[in-house]
């Protein structure tokens, strides 16, 4: 297997899914009508509801859904089960479930006056489903932010070459905000300056590696070279399990990332969060475009970086730890989330993109098209890890992506540095936004009951403290799978809601209903497996050894998993009853669509 063949498979998947399946559903089931007025045109308020060109919306939706998820998921799954199951799930997932979820999230909002999924659930399913959904979203954000902080802290501790680039990214983000909003500098000049300096910092990473290595060593010398915490990690020693250590340098980088996220959460959005995202966008876009085209060309120009070195299949149930289980079903289906299907997309599509859709004919290219492009991003991550070295997963990804970028003539050392930095940038910008959304969600959720939580500083601190607590469990793979379970469950609930809506308006519901059932059962099973693994592999073993920190963290993670399952069962039960109620009712007579002005 080589990268060219994989890219061709990816392109064929996109083409066939879009033209042979998605268009058919759009035409025959949803019956999108370009003459029907959309909420953006009906309720145009110049702010949230604003008709926008479909190309702009495509870029906006794609950028909002394509972040760290498709990259990290593909890396982890390829290392657990091999590249073949990962690529099969990516292809089948996006073809039959992923695009349908994204597209339907937009459709259901447009056909329901631009309401959010929770508002529609309140009306169509049951009032309590909205409250449950809020709680669900908070824990989903918590697990997501923790998983991202965990992986970033590990990469930054082990890769000192990335530090200069990330420090400069932060500095340039702050400078860009100042230039654009205070000094009123032109966008093009400010972009060239800030992105250029950040890029130079990233490329200069290998030269400054020694300085930051010494810095990490100095941090570790504080504790005399002994770890702060020792705990049993079932994923170490080739998945047989071994003692892991949290060194002061790891804690330092985890806290540094949280301070960055705290600033991004409480400062005005124009001051830090937005400009950092903007600078980060150009860095990651450059790396992804160079990498994707490089992956296709590598077979001809540099064949040695195009051959897969990772095994195609590693087994149905790679054991993780002494009592661990990691069955391909259901765990693969939550480990790779965003490149195949993701709940975040439907959630975002319903409140962000749907309110800007100008014409119903744009729903499919924007919603379905963006998801199919995100699948290509997941495929690129999978290719990078499949051709990379057999080292740590993120290291293998960076080596692989660096190889693809080196096809363009960039020396491998610098190309790998760029790939590492691109990975951290993509994860970092998402994490700061997650914390920002999480603190608002917490304030809204508990602000009336616990008034101090209304303060942005208190709510940000609570969110970050919870995330650090979860990160310190040390079992990152389980944390990632918990996030995948929550994310996919959100997708299943979105599809369930779409199914109920389709039944309520007398349309064929199979294209959404069957994937909803599959994802619902799979994700609940995966949350149970993750709880089992955490309890037997982390909680019990560390409890027996008298280690407190991982016991608290893994106990917390088990509780979150069980809470998500209970919430999903409530929504599932209400959804099923609503579905039966609408199915028994005679189909409503078709109502004439409101014509566009």
């Amino acid at each position: 297997m080589n990268t060219l063949l994989a890219v061709i498979i990816g392109m064929l998947t996109v083409y066939l899914t879009y033209t042979r399946y998605a268009r058919r559903i759009d035409r025959n089931v949803i019956q999108s009508d370009p003459k029907r007025a959309t909420p953006a045109t009906l309720y145009m308020d110049g702010v949230d509801f604003m008709p926008t060109n479909k190309n702009i919306l495509f870029g906006y939706h794609f950028k909002s859904i394509a972040a760290a998820g498709p990259i990290v998921g593909a890396i982890v799954a390829a290392n657990l089960w091999g590249w073949l199951p990962a690529i099969i799930w990516l292809v089948l997932g996006v073809s039959f479930i992923g695009w349908a979820s994204d597209y339907s999230g937009i459709v259901i909002s447009i056909r329901n006056d631009g309401n959010s999924l929770s508002a529609i659930a309140h009306r169509l399913v049951s009032p309590r489903s909205r409250t449950i959904l809020f709680m669900f979203i908070f824990f989903y954000l918590l697990v997501g932010a923790s998983a991202f902080v965990g992986i970033m802290a590990n990469v930054m501790e082990s890769q000192p070459r990335t530090h200069l680039g990330i420090i400069l990214l932060t500095a340039m983000g702050l400078l860009l905000g100042q230039m654009l909003y205070r000094w009123r500098t032109g966008l093009v000049g400010a972009t060239v300056l800030t992105v250029g300096v950040t890029l130079l910092g990233i490329l200069a990473g290998p030269w400054t590696e020694g300085i930051f290595k010494s810095f990490n060593a100095g941090l570790n010398a504080i504790s005399g070279g002994t770890p702060l915490v020792t705990y049993f990690d079932p994923t170490l020693a080739n998945f047989k399990g071994a003692d892991a250590q949290i060194m002061p340098s790891l804690l330092f980088w985890a806290i540094a990332i949280c301070v960055f996220c705290y600033a991004g959460s409480v400062l005005p959005i124009w001051r830090m969060a937005q400009p950092v995202v903007y600078v980060g966008f150009w860095i990651s876009a450059l790396s992804i475009v160079l990498g994707l085209v490089g992956a296709a060309l590598a077979t001809f120009i540099k064949p040695e970086v195009a051959q897969f070195v990772l095994p195609a299949f590693k087994g149905w149930n790679p054991q993780l730890g002494p009592a661990g289980i990691m069955p391909l079903w259901p765990m693969l289906f939550v480990t790779i989330a965003c490149g195949a299907i993701s709940g975040w997309h439907a959630l975002f599509g319903s409140v962000g993109t749907a309110r800007q859709i100008e014409n119903e004919a744009d729903m499919l290219p924007v919603g379905g098209g963006s998801m199919l492009c995100e699948f290509l991003l997941g495929l690129l991550a999978l290719l990078a890890v499949a051709v990379g070295s057999k080292g740590a997963p993120v290291g293998a990804f960076a080596t692989g992506l660096g190889g693809f970028i080196s096809v363009w003539g960039v020396p491998l050392q610098y190309a790998t540095s760029l790939a590492f930095a691109a990975f951290i940038v993509i994860v970092l910008v998402v994490t700061q936004l997650l914390f920002r959304v999480m603190r608002v969600t917490l304030s809204e959720w508990l602000g009336d009951v616990i008034p101090p939580v209304r303060s942005q500083h208190v709510s940000s601190f609570v969110c970050i403290a919870l995330a650090i607590l979860v990160v310190m469990t040390g079992t990152w793979i389980y944390l990632w799978q918990l996030l995948g379970g929550a994310n996919q469950l959100m997708a299943a609930l979105a599809l369930l809601l779409v199914t109920v809506w389709l039944a309520s308006v007398g349309k064929s519901w199979y294209y959404a209903g069957l994937p909803a059932v599959f994802m619902y059962v799979t994700t609940i099973a995966s949350l149970l497996v993750t709880s089992y693994n955490l309890y037997f592999n982390v909680y019990q073993i560390n409890l027996a050894a008298g280690r407190v920190v991982p016991v608290i963290g893994s106990g917390l993670m088990v509780m979150v998993a069980l809470l998500l399952i209970v919430a999903a069962l409530f929504i599932g039960f209400d959804g099923w009853r609503a579905f039966l109620r609408y199915r028994r009712r005679p189909a409503p007579a078709p109502t004439p669509a409101t014509a566009r002005a």
Binding site: Y43, M44, D45, G46, V47, D48, F49, M50, T52, N53, N55, I56, L57, F58, G59, Y60, H61, F62, K63, S64, N115, S116, L117, S118, A119, R130, L133, F134, I137, L187, I269, W270, Q274, V277, Y278, F281, W282, A285, L347, F348, S350, V351, G352, T353, R355, V437, V440, T441, E444, W445
Partner: protein, 92 residues
Amino acid sequence: MANEAKAKKKGGLLGIFKDIVYGMSSHEMTRHAVRQRASMEHLFILITMGDLLGVPILPPYYSLRLLPYVTPQIAGWKRRMLRERDVTDILG
């Protein structure tokens, strides 16, 4: 009509590419700026609420001066204020 088609053709692939890049890089920033402007407009509406209702609450001279600028915003303001909102709205 011919000019319109010509302009469309001129945009062509480059125009589509520009739109997509703008959507990915800057559309979110534009939306945020628009939201900020809307929140300022809400304040103006609040200041002139008394005059809109015919009840001068604040010293009327200044609010009456503002009224011509506020009046065109009333329709959009009503839509924004009366729309049902929830936590997930912040994601958009």
